[in-house]
């Protein structure tokens, strides 16, 4: 486990370093030298991690994800949320997140979740939309009701 992970990690960083160094050759003068050097050092270190892992006899178990079901659920829902914030509006998306994520993680007290969600959203609204007047992604359902709003 640990061995394979470190080999991949080292290769990833080495690749990243080489890619950066290659890209930096296009940059003019001193602005290219610095990232080129950084990229090469990164590649060397990545290589060192890989070589060390290959030569090491140790190979202990090291889980990348402790509880895959929950972690992946949360990660996927978080990604969907970020994708939805702009098209359907900040408050709509956030309210959905506040309800969907706990339920997906096994929470069954819907009323509790809804109460917390509403209180929390109200607080955010007070701070960002009323006090600071920061424009957040607009709610899609508002334009549904007509051009106003």
């Amino acid at each position: 486990m640990e061995k394979r992970q470190d080999i991949v990690l080292g290769l990833l960083f080495a690749g990243l370093g080489i890619a950066a160094a290659v890209m930096a050759t296009d940059y003019t003068g001193a602005s290219g030298t610095y990232p080129k050097v950084l990229g090469l050092i990164l590649a060397l270190l990545g290589g060192a991690v890989t070589v060390r892992a290959v030569r090491s006899g140790r190979n202990e178990a090291r889980e990348l994800i402790d509880v895959p079901a929950q972690m992946i659920t949360a990660a996927v829902i978080a990604t969907i949320y970020v994708a939805l914030v702009v098209p359907i509006g900040f408050y709509t998306a956030s309210l959905l997140l506040m309800l969907a994520l706990p339920v997906a993680l096994g929470f069954r007290q819907l009323l509790y979740a809804l109460t917390v969600a509403l209180v929390f959203m109200a607080l955010i609204y007070l701070v960002f939309s009323v006090l600071l007047e920061k424009p957040l992604p607009r709610e899609a359902f508002l334009s549904f009701f007509g051009s106003g709003g």
């Binding site: 007047e133 920061k134 424009p135 007509g146 051009s147």
Partner: protein, 316 residues
């Protein structure tokens, strides 16, 4: 069904019949500033926004989008809807200078010019013991010692650098440009003696001219500047056509309704000439300067063309 149709019809007619102007503005306006909070453009725009809020009867939310010498904010703003609720408060550099040195996604056509607000010159200053005091002596000293002097500026390819280089090119001067992150940083290095010449806005260095630590031989405007009586305007040096100013303006995205442009331009003109704003500008060494609508577009184009020539000669 019927009610729905009527409702839909009503909304549609309302949306069509209501002229954009009559109700404008009916909600908050977002003002994008292509620079970080706390800088010169930011302070001027925020002060102006207070007056505009009063006159327009709506609130104005400010969004600072710094980076790339203003090009990040300009590119982001370019994509907003031309409904009058997204405005852009900028200084001239992101529009006329930055496109000369960066590959930017916008051009002057990507914006609707509304009105300029204020302008000021850049200045070049030296320590009190520098062997030249007048503009003429200063340029002669630089010309006599090619490559000997360093001058701090606001960043490579920034308007400040181009302003200085236009003069230097005309006089055949070779001075080493040291780019800093802004006028404050330039001042810090100038006062510490790390660079020989301060290049930047007048207001930043003014207190040190007043206490005698620094002297400013010239300004980059054609005319003299009242706040710096010792500094020569370019006209007196015979370089009147090399004038480069720092000026600020408010623009909208491309395709902004003409009626809205007119309304905003007039309100901006009123606000800029408000005594409190004029007084505020004076403390920053700036003067009100309102050029509206198409005239502003022409001004941008002229400056763009002039700077294109300089940067070509500089090889930027």
């Amino acid at each position: 069904m019927k009610i729905n149709t009527i409702l839909l019809g009503l909304t549609a007619t309302a949306a069509l019949a209501a002229p954009a102007l009559a109700e404008y503005p009916e909600r908050a306006i977002e003002l994008t500033i292509p620079a970080g909070a706390g800088g010169g453009t930011d302070t001027s725009a925020r002060k102006l926004a207070i007056l505009l809020e009063e006159k327009l009867g709506t609130s104005i939310a400010i969004l600072n989008v710094g980076g790339g010498g203003g090009s990040v904010g300009a590119s982001q703003f370019m994509q907003t809807k031309p409904d009058g609720y997204s405005l852009f408060a900028t200084w001239n550099s992101p529009l006329t200078t930055v496109p000369q040195v960066q590959n930017v996604a916008y051009s002057l056509d990507s914006f609707t010019p509304i009105a300029s607000t204020s302008e000021t010159a850049y200045t070049l200053c030296v320590n009190a013991d520098f062997p030249a005091t007048t503009g003429e002596e200063f340029l002669a000293e630089l010309a006599a010692n090619p490559g000997a002097y360093t001058y701090g500026n606001d960043g490579i390819g920034g308007t400040m650098q181009l302003a200085a280089e236009r003069i230097f090119q005309a006089k055949g001067i070779d001075a080493v440009a040291i780019p800093f992150g802004g006028a404050g940083e330039t001042l810090q290095n100038f006062l510490g003696g790390h660079v020989d010449i301060y290049g930047g806005s007048i207001s930043t260095v003014l207190p040190y001219v007043e206490n005698g630590e620094a002297k400013c031989p010239l300004v980059t405007s054609a005319a003299d500047v009242p706040a710096l009586p010792g500094a020569a305007g370019l006209e007196t040096l015979g370089l009147g056509d090399k004038e480069t100013l720092l000026w600020r303006a408010i623009l909208g995205p491309k395709g902004l309704d003409e009626a809205i442009v007119d309304k905003l331009a007039n309100v901006i003109e009123e606000a800029v000439n408000d005594p409190s704003y004029v007084e505020f500008l004076a403390t920053k060494g700036e003067v009100p300067n309102v050029v509206k609508g198409e005239d502003l577009g022409a001004r941008l184009q002229t400056e763009y063309d002039a700077l294109a020539e300089v940067s070509k000669n500089l090889g930027l």
